[in-house]
């Protein structure tokens, strides 16, 4: 069963000509329709995250300022990020959608969650909007879960590093953040030597990929470098920052994945869930509408056992050397951090 929240009423968050646009969500919903799930699709009711739920990961001053900014009509928050009059309410619902999906999964104890919302969230910092993101949707859900005593694995396969999520959980030993991303690229963070704060060493795993990298290299990095850390961490929940802008057709970056690669990534992520009903995907980036539709369908289809046709997984791109140097850099950074902490 696929449990979703989102997909409607997001038209108020739009800036003409901006790539983060309502048509993205329409493409996502078509990708879900392509799976023809019938009774296996459950849409949970919209819900606006409360002030206290947002305040777990965002500063109160920022929440006040963002709300006021929108109510005054909005505008540009930085070179990339906009907000409209409606954005505050839509961002609250985007954050609440994750909470609603996680709650439904907890009640049912089965199914796969998909949070199909915009604006996206993984660049949003505690005190700042950034990179098209206003509120950090996946962080709000992860913080809810850790407040219940859970140990949360966040896998972020968006082509951009999720600097906001990493920063929010930098010193939280109950959240393991694993990111694959093109590097160098916006936002400029996500180096392999970023391994977590002194209170949570080895709970951040960054796997930078060179331009042109294909799915085989990404899987190699995840299996060789991230998997042992995840096994040691023993997550009780798996949340995914599912951006689809690493697809070869996406105009925002230069990785070379196919929809079939996203299917494999989804299978990899879900393999770490200790029991059914513990996996939820959160929409992040993805700006080529056809690739977005196909990649959503492929990744969710892989988790639901669908036989939907996908593009073949890719291989042969650059980056095998990067996998090794990343692993070496991580180990060196961990040694230095351990020496510093003692």
């Amino acid at each position: 069963m696929l449990i979703i929240n989102g997909g409607t009423d997001d038209a108020g968050h739009e800036d003409p000509g901006h790539p983060e646009r309502p048509e993205r969500l329409a493409a996502v919903m078509k990708g879900i329709e392509d799976l023809q799930l019938g009774d296996d699709l459950l849409a949970v009711a919209p819900y606006a995250a409360s002030r206290s739920e947002l305040a777990r990961v965002h500063e109160s001053t920022y929440l006040d300022q963002l709300g006021a900014f929108c109510f005054e009509g909005g505008g540009d928050l930085d070179e990339d990020t906009y907000a409209t009059y409606d954005s505050w309410a839509l961002a609250q619902h985007a954050a609440g959608a994750g909470l609603a999906v996680v709650k439904e999964l907890r009640i049912r104890g089965e199914g796969t969650g998909f949070v199909a919302v915009r604006p996206p969230g993984h660049h949003a910092l505690r005190d700042r909007a950034m990179g098209f993101c206003l509120l950090n949707n996946i962080a709000v859900a992860a913080a809810e879960l850790t407040s219940l005593g859970e140990r949360v694995l966040i896998i972020d396969w968006d082509v951009h590093h999720g600097n906001g999520t990493q920063a929010i959980f930098w010193n939280d030993p109950n959240v393991l953040y694993v990111s694959t991303h093109q590097w160098p690229l916006f936002p400029g963070s996500g180096a392999p030597y970023e391994v977590g704060g002194l209170e949570a060493l080895d709970t951040t795993v960054n796997l930078p990929m060179p331009p042109g990298a294909t799915g085989d290299v990404m899987r190699q990095a995840l299996e060789e470098t991230a998997a042992p850390v995840i096994d040691h961490f023993k997550p009780t929940w798996v949340l995914v920052s599912a951006g689809f802008d690493a697809h070869r057709a996406d105009p925002m970056a230069d990785l070379a994945l196919s929809s079939g690669d996203f299917a494999r990534l989804a299978t990899f992520a879900a393999s770490f869930a200790p029991r059914p009903g513990r996996v939820a995907l959160f929409l992040e980036g993805g700006y080529d509408l056809a690739a977005l539709r196909a990649s959503v369908s492929a990744s969710l289809g892989a988790l639901l056992g669908s036989s939907a046709t996908t593009e073949d997984p890719t291989n042969g791109g650059p980056g095998a050397d990067t996998v090794r140097t990343t692993r070496d850099a991580r180990q060196a950074a961990l040694r230095i951090a351990h020496d510093t902490s003692h």
Binding site: P19, F69, L77, E79, D80, F186, G188, M252
Partner: protein, 145 residues
Amino acid sequence: MKPIHTIAVGFDGSEDAKTAVRWALTLATHCDAQVVVAHAVGLLERFDAKNVAVELEESLLRLCDESGLEHSRAQLEIEDGDACSVMLRMADPPISADLLVVGTRGQGAHAGLLLGSTSLELAEHSTIPLVIVPRASTTEQSQMA
């Protein structure tokens, strides 16, 4: 007080940023410092496939000539990220700037708003001294020179 060897100044091509760069270049002539002119490449700049490096380099050379600073003492640094994050990184190796300089507001922010102001964000987070150069300082800058 720590001597100023390296000044990092934000540059997005706006008039406010040019004022800040002029101020930083002039200061450098007085304290024998190097100037790193930092340009942040955001998501939309990449999406629009802009390549502003040549334009920024030419602009920087003109500003150096105006300020009387040898070209070799100013370098353009183009980095991925938002303006605030890129400027904060200038304080870290390998740049290790001793002073950050920015204009009051660049291309992305709105006048009079606390949110979206790179200069105010930097004022809150910078670990090294920060100078926010108001637009009106053009005249003062030329007097200083």
